[in-house]
């Protein structure tokens, strides 16, 4: 590649004129192609967070149990007994639309590396997926490819995929979202960071060889899609979960020694970002000799090697006297191990290749002078609140239609393709509880894990929607009996250069921040994915929340399945809010009104009550009320328990459809064998506790006396994926 480096080439690399001028000022001459490549990826939206950084600072990130917040490869929280949970969520949206299988698979691989690079054994994967309308011809292919990709990678590396969420909406037709989350466990005194140290120490490359795949992937992830997106397929990387598995085992084996000074995975922008970040954080210099870089192809240039996003690679700084020990471990696992450079005291990154200096850049300005934009934004326009509605279908048909719709139907078709039991610690599998519960091997403790966001609420009112996403994650952790500890977020939005999109982003962050503060639920890691637009149409604002909580005793975890004879009690205030509800969308065909208000004081009070009730063993099953409202929650519970229920009439002052399908927040549906004690406790806590009915052996009898058989209910709940995927 003999391109002439100038402002127009820089523009094609994603650097605008002002940014290119800044590059010239920093290095004082025309950059080489490799240097331009390094600047363009480090200053891409994906790596520099140039549009989002000023706003991310508004999120609360600390708590007594937070060991490392944002800024490391993943967030780290203390979970007691000398153990830490390390976790993060990251998007692979753009690659997953171009090539669904590999896009999703490498998304899983990338987030796994972010976690094990810090010294944790990955113990659980989750995901948050958004797809276009099922009627859109490409959606089926994308869903199938993404699900196969997540399974293909996660199953092979042997990390259970235990939870996630899936939505369908036309706004994702040309821009699906694939957000992958990994959780790992480490000892609090054995956490590995990326800051390099020790001038002269060797810089070691391990893992797969470098090829020409994924060159400029980070830049692609920072631009909108156009009709030529298919031509970008070569920028999608190819995953090799087998090598990842070997890399996990080799790294963990090496991490048990004292050989590693610093370690960083090669993620977006590969060798460039890992070497720049390690040296930059350590305030040292770094010199790499690319002749030593393991290569999969011949004739690769420095530019190609520095920009490649080949997967399953790590960069480490080792103690020189432990180099041989480290080499033996990687040779045992049949992985490449190469010393490709050393640390210097120059504060510069110097790249040599075939006797030539291909890049020589001062590290401090590369980081400090990265662009930072306070982009103009407009306040979101909020919809008028919804007026009176009338119910054209009645409860029975409304329920059957709702539980069959793509957003509410059974996810078993998807989760049955993910290995959720490998590791032998999965206490609550997908669908069994509001959050996945995974015991910590060798301990009685367990992690509770969930991913949540309600994009239609965020579109209607980004601030309240951002708060709701956090509150729902907190509620789902609470509903299994866990103490919510911290959040990882994945902020998926459209083009931030449009003031209305930036306005959504700002408001959503403000709502999230409020909820995180009110619930003591800090954000410890995350990822921002902007430019989720195709041909000018943006996605719904989707700030996906990954929540992590802890149970001191895994045996205390409750699921959503009641036993016949249990009393069903609704805890929390019901007003019958139908604005932006799924009932409104699926039955009346409207996406209208304000989303349900989020009262964080009520949220906290109700959740704290539920957690205490679970600890007191007053609860045999618990399910938070969310999409579809109370009646959908009842249906999900009886299906999970293979039981039935007989329901009492709702209150006289709320229309039946509003009571049973409204989506008021801060509510839980509890099954209990001890209703008297539970109601008394709720009364003492000042919380409404309404007896909805009783779980029975079979059949769901609605308050109007109509009974739906278990078979009819199950058929409605499971038919969508089965029928869609076999046509």
């Amino acid at each position: 590649m003999n391109a002439i480096v100038d402002a127009s080439l820089a523009k094609s690399f994603g650097l605008n004129a002002e940014e290119y001028a800044r590059v010239l000022a920093i290095i004082g001459r025309t950059p080489s192609l490799t240097e331009l490549g390094i600047f363009s990826v480090m200053w891409s939206e994906h790596c520099s967070y140039k549009s989002s950084r000023v706003w991310l600072r508004e999120l609360p990130t600390s708590a007594p149990w937070v060991i490392h917040g944002p800024g490391e490869n993943a967030g780290v929280v203390d979970i007691g007994d000398g153990l830490a949970a390390i976790f993060k969520m990251e998007s692979h949206n753009h690659p997953s639309f171009i090539e669904p299988y590999q896009g999703a698979a490498t998304g899983v691989g990338g987030i796994l590396r972010d976690v094990f690079t810090m010294g944790a054994r990955p113990v659980a994967n989750l995901n948050a997926l958004r797809f276009g309308r099922p009627e859109n011809p490409v959606t089926k292919r994308v869903v199938d490819g993404v699900v196969r990709g997540i399974g293909g990678y996660g199953n092979c590396v042997g990390v259970p995929t235990v939870g996630g969420e899936v939505n369908f909406h036309p706004a994702y037709d040309g821009n699906p979202l694939v957000n992958a989350m990994t959780v790992g466990i480490a000892h609090t005194d054995k956490i590995f960071l990326s800051a390099a140290a020790g001038v002269g120490n060797p810089v070691v490359y391990v893992g797969s060889r470098t090829g020409r795949d994924g060159i400029h992937g980070a830049t692609m992830a920072s631009a909108e899609f156009d009709a030529d997106s298919d031509a970008k397929r070569p920028t999608v990387q190819v995953g090799d979960p087998f090598t990842e598995k070997l890399l996990i085992e080799a790294c963990l084996e090496l991490m048990a020694t004292d050989a590693i000074i610093a370690i960083q995975d090669m993620g977006a922008a590969g060798l460039t970002s890992s070497s720049v970040e390690m040296a930059g954080k350590g305030e040292v210099g770094i010199e790499l000799d690319l002749d030593s870089c393991p290569q999969r192809e011949t004739g690769m240039t420095a530019y190609e090697m520095m920009l490649s996003e080949s997967q399953e690679r790590m960069l480490m700084v080792l103690r020189p006297d432990r180099q041989d020990l480290a080499r033996k471990i990687f040779e045992k696992w049949e992985l490449d191990f190469a010393v490709i450079g050393h640390l210097t005291d120059t504060g510069r990154i110097v790249i040599k290749h075939q006797g030539r200096t291909e890049a020589d850049i001062p590290l401090a300005p590369l980081a400090d002078q990265a662009p930072l934009y306070r982009r103009p934004y407009t306040e979101p326009v909020l919809p008028a609140s919804l007026g009176e509605t009338t119910d054209p279908l009645g409860l029975k048909d409304g329920l059957l239609k709702l539980i069959a719709c793509p957003d509410l139907c059974s996810r078993a078709w998807i989760t049955d393709q993910y290995d959720s039991t490998v590791g032998g610690q999965t206490v609550k599998r997908p669908g069994a509880a509001d959050a996945a519960v995974v015991r910590i091997e060798g301990s009685t403790r367990a992690l509770a894990l969930t991913t949540d966001c309600t994009p239609r609420y965020c579109a209607a009112d980004p601030r309240s929607g951002g708060a709701q996403a956090v509150a729902e994650a907190w509620r789902n952790l609470t509903a299994v009996g866990a103490r919510p500890l911290a959040v990882t977020d994945n902020l998926n939005f459209g083009n931030p250069e449009k003031p209305e999109i930036m306005g959504q982003f700002v408001a959503a962050i403000q709502g999230m921040a409020e909820a995180c503060r009110a619930l003591d639920f800090p954000v410890v890691s995350g990822n921002v994915s902007l430019y989720n637009e195709t041909q000018g149409t943006g996605i719904l604002p989707t700030p996906a929340i990954g929540g992590l909580g802890v149970l001191d005793d895994a045996a205390d975890a409750v699921g959503i399945a009641p036993s016949a004879g249990d009393t069903l009690i609704l805890i929390g205030i019901t007003l019958g809010h139908l604005g932006q509800s799924l009932w409104l969308r699926e039955i009346l065909g409207q996406e209208a009104g304000a989303p349900p208000p989020v009262d964080l004081v009520a949220e906290r009070q109700t959740g704290d009550f539920i957690r205490a009730a679970i600890r007191n063993a007053d609860v045999s099953a618990c399910h938070d009320i969310s999409d579809g409202g109370v009646l959908v929650a009842v249906a999900e519970m009886v299906l999970a328990g293979s039981v039935g229920a007989v329901l009492n009439p709702g209150p006289a002052d709320i229309a039946p459809h509003a009571f049973w399908f409204g989506e008021d927040q801060a509510r839980y549906l509890v099954a209990t064998g001890n209703p008297t004690a539970l109601r008394r406790a709720a009364g003492a806590a000042g919380l409404p506790a309404r007896v909805l009915g009783r779980a029975e052996k079979s059949g769901l009898t609605l308050p109007n006396g109509v009974t739906i058989s278990e078979a009819a209910l199950r058929e409605a709940h499971t038919c969508f994926f089965r029928d869609w995927m076999t046509t």
């Binding site: 042997g158 979960p241 087998f242 393709q417 490998v422 032998g424 599998r429």
Partner: protein, 230 residues
């Protein structure tokens, strides 16, 4: 009982089966790297689940050529007990220690959910803590578990009583609706001629603790522990 678990590159259920064995025996099993050429003194060899060598050629095909395999063949020839689960079953068929092959699931998708297994004989070291005809639940997690063998091999297995488990309904009916992956004769697991080598696709080791949803898999490990007690 002493047990040794063989680890190939890409094995991923070794810790699961180690937990099940330790629960049953009270001892930590030995972990043996595939690059070794001899086994430690042991009563049971376990080939656990996973994706040895990434399943990149054919599931189990490369692992069957590992340096440890001659020692495993000798162990089998001397009447040793071998348990191959999932990828371990695939390796045993590729190594010729069990007949047949495991093909892609009939539905061409990975399947991860509980299945029900009917115990076809209870007079072996592996199944002695079950009753003949008993049905137990076991998680399955595989993409290539569709057992296939030529009709005469299947007849031989039937005739010699070498079918260990069949996929069944919860009340013990063997029918196509209860066969998750298309296996011939609903076969989920088979024995060697001397009944000392067992290969099966589902994962009894993932159901040995009530907290994880049940203990249906525990009798297999308890039975082995009793049968192979020194």
């Amino acid at each position: 009982m002493k047990a040794a678990i063989v680890i190939f590159p890409g094995t991923n259920r070794e810790r699961d089966v180690a937990i099940a064995l330790k629960n049953a025996t009270g001892n930590q099993p030995a972990m043996v790297w595939h690059g070794e050429t001899s086994l430690p003194g042991t009563d049971l060899v376990v080939l656990p689940g996973g994706f040895s060598h990434g399943d990149y050629l054919r599931c189990g095909a490369m692992a069957a050529q590992s340096p440890i395999m001659p020692a495993i063949r000798r162990f089998a020839a001397q009447g040793g007990h071998i348990l191959g689960i999932c990828n371990g079953f695939q390796i045993l068929t590729e190594a010729g220690l069990l007949p047949g092959a495991l093909l892609r699931n009939a539905g061409l998708r990975f399947i991860s959910r509980d299945c029900h297994l009917r115990v076809e004989r209870a007079d072996t070291a592996f199944t002695r803590h079950y009753q003949r005809g008993q049905v137990f639940r076991a998680p399955m997690a595989h993409g290539d578990g569709n057992y296939f063998a030529e009709p005469e091999i299947v007849s031989m297995l039937e005739g010699e009583g070498r079918i260990a488990f069949r996929y069944a309904t919860p009340d013990g009916k063997v029918d196509p609706a209860a066969n998750p992956n298309g296996s011939v004769a609903s076969i989920a697991g088979i024995f060697s001629a001397n009944l000392r080598v067992l290969g099966l696709m589902p994962h009894p080791e993932n159901l040995v603790d009530p907290l994880m949803g049940g203990t249906d898999g525990k009798p297999l490990f308890d039975g082995l522990t009793e049968a192979l007690a020194a």
